[in-house]
């Protein structure tokens, strides 16, 4: 899921100092799980804004904020509340915020969160990053552990000289990705595979933003 973090409230107030009335849009997916855009957070933000003397005309927790058409449909029922707000606040990731920008061409839209990374939830509201969506997965070659993301240097062929007692040079809190990959391949009895192949220089064009994808054509044919 996309991991988000609430932005500093003072910074938000500063962003919206010119406006008086707001409509809030949360998201029931990632932002809800991150505690940044679910039912409770929408309520809390509405209260906090009112305490600052602002008006909140309404709010919604969109099912999937990054789904532009779906969100548009859901918002139909809130037409009046949306129309009477000067400004839209989006409590999801940057993608959700930009759905709103697309839907409200004539209204200012501000994010209430910072979008951090594509993350795994390991415990309730504890997240770590394991995939950075490089566009050409090499997990097939590395025992299912991604060195591009979990090694701070993104090394592709083994540990650097900074590894100490199996931990990473960058921080003892990070296990060395290459020691993990090595251990796992050893367990799977695939060390030869790991040792013999030199992983080639990556083609980073697959990670070049902005990326887009449509699989429609194929289906329609």
């Amino acid at each position: 899921m996309i991991i988000t973090k609430k932005r500093d409230f003072q910074e938000l107030l500063d962003n919206i100092r010119d406006y008086k009335s707001f409509f809030l849009i949360g998201c029931s997916e990632c932002a809800s799980l991150c505690g940044t855009g679910g039912e409770n957070e929408v309520k809390e933000l509405a209260e906090a804004l009112r305490a600052e003397g602002k008006e909140v005309t309404g709010g919604i927790v969109a099912k999937t904020g990054c789904q532009v058409l779906g969100t548009k449909k859901e918002l139909k029922a809130y037409k009046d509340a949306v129309n009477s707000a000067e400004c839209i606040l989006v409590m999801s990731c940057g993608a959700g915020t930009q759905s709103a920008v697309e839907l409200f061409g004539d209204k200012p839209v501000y994010p209430t969160n910072d979008s951090l990374f594509l993350g795994n939830m390991t415990r309730f509201q504890v997240f770590d990053e394991r995939c950075s969506m490089c566009g050409d997965c090499i997990l097939d070659k590395t025992g299912g552990i991604c060195p591009i993301t979990t090694c701070p240097k993104g090394l592709l062929n083994g540990p650097c000289g900074g590894m100490k007692d199996g931990r990473c040079e960058v921080s003892p809190d990070i296990p060395c990705a290459w020691v993990r990959i090595y251990e796992r391949m050893k367990k799977l009895d695939k060390l030869d595979e790991l040792a013999e192949s030199v992983i080639e220089v990556k083609d980073w064009s697959t990670a070049q933003s902005p990326r887009a994808l449509s699989t429609r054509e194929k289906k329609e044919k």
């Binding site: 701070p152 240097k153 993104g154 090394l155 592709l156 062929n157 083994g158 540990p159 650097c160 000289g161 900074g162 590894m163 100490k164 007692d165 199996g166 040079e169 960058v170 921080s171 060395c176 290459w178 020691v179 990959i181 090595y182 050893k186 060390l191 790991l194 040792a195 030199v198 080639e200 220089v201 980073w204």
Partner: protein
Amino acid sequence: MSFREALESGRFVVTAEVGPPKGADVEEMVHHIELLKGKVDALNFTDNQSAVMRMNSLAGCAIAVQHGVEPILQMTCRDRNRIGLQSDLLGAHALGVKNVLCMTGDHVSAGDHKGAKPVYDVESVQLLGIVESLNNGRDMSGNELKGATDFFPGGVVTPEADPIEPQLMKFEKKIRAGARFFQTQAVYDIEKFKEFMKHARKFPVKVLAGLVVLKSAGMANFLNNFVPGIKVPQELIDELKAAGKGKGLDAGMSICARHIRQLKEEGICDGVHIMAIGMEDKVPEIMERAGL
């Protein structure tokens, strides 16, 4: 005799290391180049070591060439993408630099520009492959070059890495990618280093043992606690302590000289790489004590 010829002839070679200045003043660097001229087979120039921004390694190498000293260009993957690396390699070659040491490079978080975007577009194994392709007259995309390079490529290895297996895997990958010589992370336990060399001797590569001169027991403890891949045995720490106040450096130089002598006399490896880290002035005396 060039560094490469010396190694290939089987002579025990000595290299040392100079860090280019933090600033535009090259006087001290030139002093160290002159001091080590004729004494070492080649001089490494570090590449923004510890991710601390300094003058580039290439300029240091070019100045060494002007002064008649053969340089080894340390090249890390931290600060340049594949275009920058290849371009700098071609430039280095034009300036008379023939030895290149391919390294990953310390992470920016270790240095003095912590907010920098680390590059690592390619890494050390792949960089060795790139050098090989330039030597074969093509860039890494396969485009033909007007004039091939003639680099002598090398790599680094950490014989005291713990765990060692993943490090040895990478060592072998570097050899397959074209590394012809290795300079190791600092070693202090010669018996353990012999074990590593038993393995390394299976491959057609030359190995220079890395030696860092100890200044005090405190420094030894610091290396043990904070520097990855370095293990100073307790006997040596005791020896430094026993030397007494103000005598640590002298004892450290003796240890270094003793190790060089043993490595050479027992034919354990093909040479030594002395990292004096700020005490380049002492290198000639260490070599003298080692009987070189």
